[in-house]
């Protein structure tokens, strides 16, 4: 059944590909631009680190923004409520969607890595570890979708939460150079460890991702909602005039 659900979700992604195309195109474009303007481009290993950083951005965009938004859209359309009335267990439903999103994110990562190899003859040494990052960020996407009240709030909430996390996670600036409390936040950010794992395997990074995955899954199972939040019964905003 898991395979069926995974294929079902991939089919939905492919038939409504605008968001996927956007999240697949942005990282390569940024990669080419940054590689052209960076002062560090002559340093050894720079391009491998750049590909890893852009792959992290792609994983975040697909597994967090696109995936969580699609989950909220399914909830708004009544699809989740419908499936909840069937014998399909909730964990299988979540696993099928996460698996499909992971497959799509890995395909995008591979395309980016191939482009990096073609342009710079370099790519991240631990590319297969992208699977850990994609699963973790997808589970965080499921968890955050539970606090998005309705589809009309999804785009704003998801993009405004993603941007600061990306900024402190070593995608655009090396995480090790971030000072003070920003460095502490960076260390706790899952994206920092997604990028780090692509560059070099580390049990510490893997443990961070495992911790984030468990927390996100527990929250998602606890708070999983099949209906959008109803609008308030009364308005609190009073307009003048």
């Amino acid at each position: 059944m898991l395979r069926e659900l995974c294929l079902y979700q991939i089919r939905l992604y492919l038939r409504s590909p605008r968001a996927l195309v956007a999240s697949a195109v942005t990282p390569p474009l940024l990669m080419v631009m940054l590689a052209a303007i960076s002062d560090h481009r002559a340093e050894p290993g720079y391009h491998a680190r750049l590909v890893a950083a852009m792959a992290t951005l792609g994983i975040a965009s697909t597994c967090y923004t696109t995936f969580a938004a699609s989950l909220v859209a399914s909830r708004d359309a009544g699809v989740l409520k419908r499936l909840r009335a069937t014998p399909l267990p909730l964990w299988q439903h979540i696993a099928g969607r996460v698996a499909a999103t992971t497959v799509v994110a890995l395909a995008q990562t591979l395309l980016l890595a191939v482009l990096g190899w073609l342009l710079y003859r370099d790519w991240p040494p631990m590319l297969p570890s992208a699977v850990f990052g994609a699963v973790t960020v997808s589970l965080i996407g499921v968890a955050v979708a539970q606090v998005v009240p309705r589809g009309d709030a999804a785009a704003t909430l998801l993009s405004t939460t993603l941007l600061p996390v990306v900024l402190v996670s070593g995608v655009f600036f090396p995480a090790s150079e971030l000072p003070g409390w920003v460095g502490v936040v960076s260390e706790a950010s899952p994206l920092t460890h997604v990028g780090a794992l692509l560059n070099a395997f580390s049990w510490v990074d893997l443990a961070w991702l495992l911790g984030w995955s468990c927390a996100a899954l527990a929250f998602a199972l606890w708070r999983f909602r099949v209906e959008p939040e109803p609008p308030r019964a009364t308005g609190r905003v009073r307009l003048a005039g």
Partner: protein, 279 residues
């Protein structure tokens, strides 16, 4: 097999269901009628396992819907009030996916054929007309061969032929022993399909009975209307229409535009709802 005793549901200070008692036997089609906001959706969603209750005892197929199991979900079918199919899936893919969720599903091809969707098997759900999307919804509710089927306004947006086809399918399903709980705003649908009708107003059941006798409307007055030779209209309301008509005919008058009408389910429903609202 639905048993409800003393069901109470509150939303904050508002009581949506106030001590509802209800039973439906295997193979019975039970229609729940009521104005908007009467508590129908709360009642149905508690029975479907979507909402918790505040008080009372509820059993569907012997299971408390507040503690649904996977096996129990495999024995019920739910048609929600609004269309809820991924618009990017084709009709065949949607029914195929749902059929794999059940142990003994209805063969998708046969089901689509019965619901008049065989020609749409490769069409995406999002491009179907409203009525055909609703039929696809019904297919998804039926595909697991449910023992209890919840139909929330099942024929909204249907043309008359599609509505009658759907009624035929629901009758067949009920004849096979499936309990059907139906909510509808079409009184004709309730009269046509239901073995029993309950009317919910203000969170309480105000009438429960056969659609032909609901609210005692079979005992209510029959209306005889005709036009006298002078052109003057005449109206007689009586509980003994045969005797009343015979008495008029004995007077030897020619009765123009004669009509004899009995109260319909709609008349009984409106009388019940109107009197409760007035109270």
């Amino acid at each position: 097999m639905i048993e409800v005793e003393g069901l109470v549901k509150r939303y904050g200070k508002r009581t949506a269901l106030d001590g509802v008692d209800l039973r439906a036997a295997p193979g019975e089609v039970l229609a729940v009628l009521g104005p908007n906001g009467a508590g129908k959706t709360s009642l149905v969603e508690i029975l479907e396992g979507y909402r918790p209750r505040d008080d009372g005892r509820v059993r569907v197929l012997g299971t408390d819907p507040a503690r649904p199991t996977r096996a129990w979900r495999g024995r019920i079918g739910v048609l929600p009030q609004s269309t809820s199919v991924d618009p990017q899936l084709t009709v065949g893919e949607a029914v195929g996916l749902f059929s794999r969720l059940y142990r003994n599903p209805w063969p998708p091809g046969d089901l689509l054929d019965r619901l008049g969707l065989a020609d749409a098997v490769h069409r995406r759900a999002g491009v179907l007309s409203g009525g055909r999307q609703r039929r696809l919804d019904l297919a998804l509710a039926l595909v697991g061969r449910p023992e209890v089927l919840f139909l929330d306004e099942p024929t909204t947006g249907f043309d008359p032929e599609a509505r009658r086809d759907t009624w035929r399918v629901v009758r067949e399903v009920a004849a096979g022993g499936c309990t059907v709980l139906l909510t509808t705003h079409y009184l004709e649908e309730a009269a046509e399909l239901a073995d029993r009708v309950v009317v919910v107003v203000g969170g309480k059941i105000v009438a429960d009975g056969d659609p032909a006798t609901l609210g005692g409307h079979l005992d209510a007055s029959t209306t005889i209307r005709y036009r006298r030779p002078s052109g003057e209209p005449a109206v007689i309301r009586t509980r003994t229409p045969s005797a009343a008509l015979l008495a008029v005919l004995r007077e030897g008058e020619e009765l123009g535009e004669l009509s004899v009408t009995r109260p319909t389910l709609e008349d009984a429903y409106l009388a019940l709802v109107g009197s409760r609202h007035a109270a």
